[in-house]
């Protein structure tokens, strides 16, 4: 039976990296704290990519299982959030590709994935008429639709930056692409969104 390491005062206030260390030293509670800290963010983030709540929950769970399985390989020289987002992003993208192969798409996803050549695909004109102004919920839905219609290579870095608040450096590590490419893709995503949401912003 493995020993459990206890810390006076508990581990709830530990920083992420310290929690990983505590967990590797045998403190199961440290892993529970990590799960509690990231579960909401991860389910929300994955759901913005796959638009399937149950799938997002399953993938978030799988993300934690991989964190658990490979915790000893985690190098503390970069943020834990970078690592966990990288696992979650890879799982979500793999699942989207799997669904693409099997034709398991919602229409919203098909719009995004059919744009792999980077050419903007026309989406319905959502601009409000002078007589009608969109309310907050409608604006959000339009934004979500426009984000979904972005090619994946633009959509993912945009969401990581603008929704998840990751830094450019973190996004480089999550997606394993250069800083220049990250900046360029986010720039392109914003310009496309501006075009798609003309009259709404």
């Amino acid at each position: 039976m493995a020993e459990t390491v206890a810390y006076a005062g508990g581990v709830a206030g530990f920083r992420d990296n310290a929690l990983v260390t505590a967990y590797l030293e045998g403190n199961d509670e440290a892993f529970r704290v990590l799960v509690s800290r990231y579960q909401g963010k991860l389910v929300n983030y994955i759901n913005t990519l796959v638009h399937d709540y149950d799938l997002a929950v399953d993938l978030a769970q799988e993300t934690f299982i991989r964190v658990f399985r490979y915790a000893d390989r985690y190098k503390g020289d970069y943020q834990f959030s970078t690592w966990i987002y990288r696992i979650a992003t890879n799982l979500a993208i793999d699942e989207l590709r799997r669904r693409e192969r099997k034709g398991l798409f919602s229409l919203r996803h098909m719009i995004g994935l059919f744009q792999k050549d980077g050419k903007p695909l026309a989406i319905p004109d959502v601009r409000p008429t002078p007589e009608r102004t969109l309310d907050g919920k409608e604006r959000l839905e339009k934004l979500q639709g426009a984000v979904d219609s972005l090619p994946q290579k633009y959509r993912v870095p945009f969401l990581l930056k603008e929704v998840e608040d990751l830094s450019y450096e973190e996004i480089c590590r999550v997606l394993q692409i250069s800083m220049g490419t990250v900046k360029s893709r986010i720039h392109r995503a914003k310009m496309l969104l501006r075009e798609k949401l003309a009259g709404i912003l």
């Binding site: 509690s36 579960q39 149950d54 769970q61 934690f64 299982i65 399985r69 603008e162 720039h187």
Partner: protein, 201 residues
């Protein structure tokens, strides 16, 4: 400063976006000023995609039950073997299997050492954050021995308890077990800690 450079500075949210050169350019260039306004709106609107999603009940417990095998399986096997020996030795079968047709309160409990074990037929059983439910009723097991599972309790699903899905029609949402399933619920000496195992096979 040229428009192209200003646009890059604005979309990448560089610190120099507030520099006198950029501000001066924005004053004199309608196109860049409009872009600046749109980007601010886009940022604000994107932030609203952050909304936290509700997690299924016991998400943390479900993840942790699959990722902390250091002590629990050993303990579990030991406890199960001990319980079996006790049952055989004293010749008492101290549980009642409740079928889906019978009254929900008919099951019995059997203290084993300092544990309490309950065995219930899960043909239409669901676990929610407010307790074990069966046909919409809290499953009370005679209403005396059983301590109700409440939000915040640690609920550990053994791997053979397979979750068929989440029923969002109940409030709070509930897990539904895959059948066949006879779920053994053990409440250990530790308060608020329950272990669920499928003993149907």
């Amino acid at each position: 400063m040229k428009c192209r450079k200003v646009r890059r500075i604005l979309t990448e949210q560089m610190q120099s976006a507030d520099s006198p050169e950029v501000l001066e350019h924005l004053e004199s260039c309608d196109d860049c000023r409009a872009l600046h306004q749109d980007l601010l709106s886009l940022k604000q609107l994107s932030g609203e995609l952050k909304g936290q999603m509700d997690l299924p009940p016991f998400f943390t417990e479900r993840v942790c039950s699959q990722t902390t095998p250091t002590t629990r399986p050993v303990y579990w096997k030991f406890a199960a073997a001990l319980a079996g020996l006790v049952f055989l030795a004293i010749g008492i079968v101290n549980f009642v299997s409740v079928s889906s047709e019978t009254d929900a309160s008919a099951a019995a409990s059997a203290p084993v050492g300092k544990e309490r074990i309950y065995r219930i037929d899960a043909s239409d059983l669901a676990v929610t954050a407010s307790g074990i439910q069966r046909q919409g009723q809290v499953f009370s097991l005679d209403g005396k021995e059983w301590e109700e599972i409440t939000p915040g309790d640690h609920l550990t699903f053994q791997p053979d308890v397979r979750i068929a899905g989440v029923d969002h029609k109940t409030s709070p949402p509930s897990y539904v077990f895959e059948l066949p399933a006879t779920i053994e619920v053990r409440q250990t000496q530790a308060e608020n800690e329950f272990y669920l195992q499928n003993v149907s096979h």
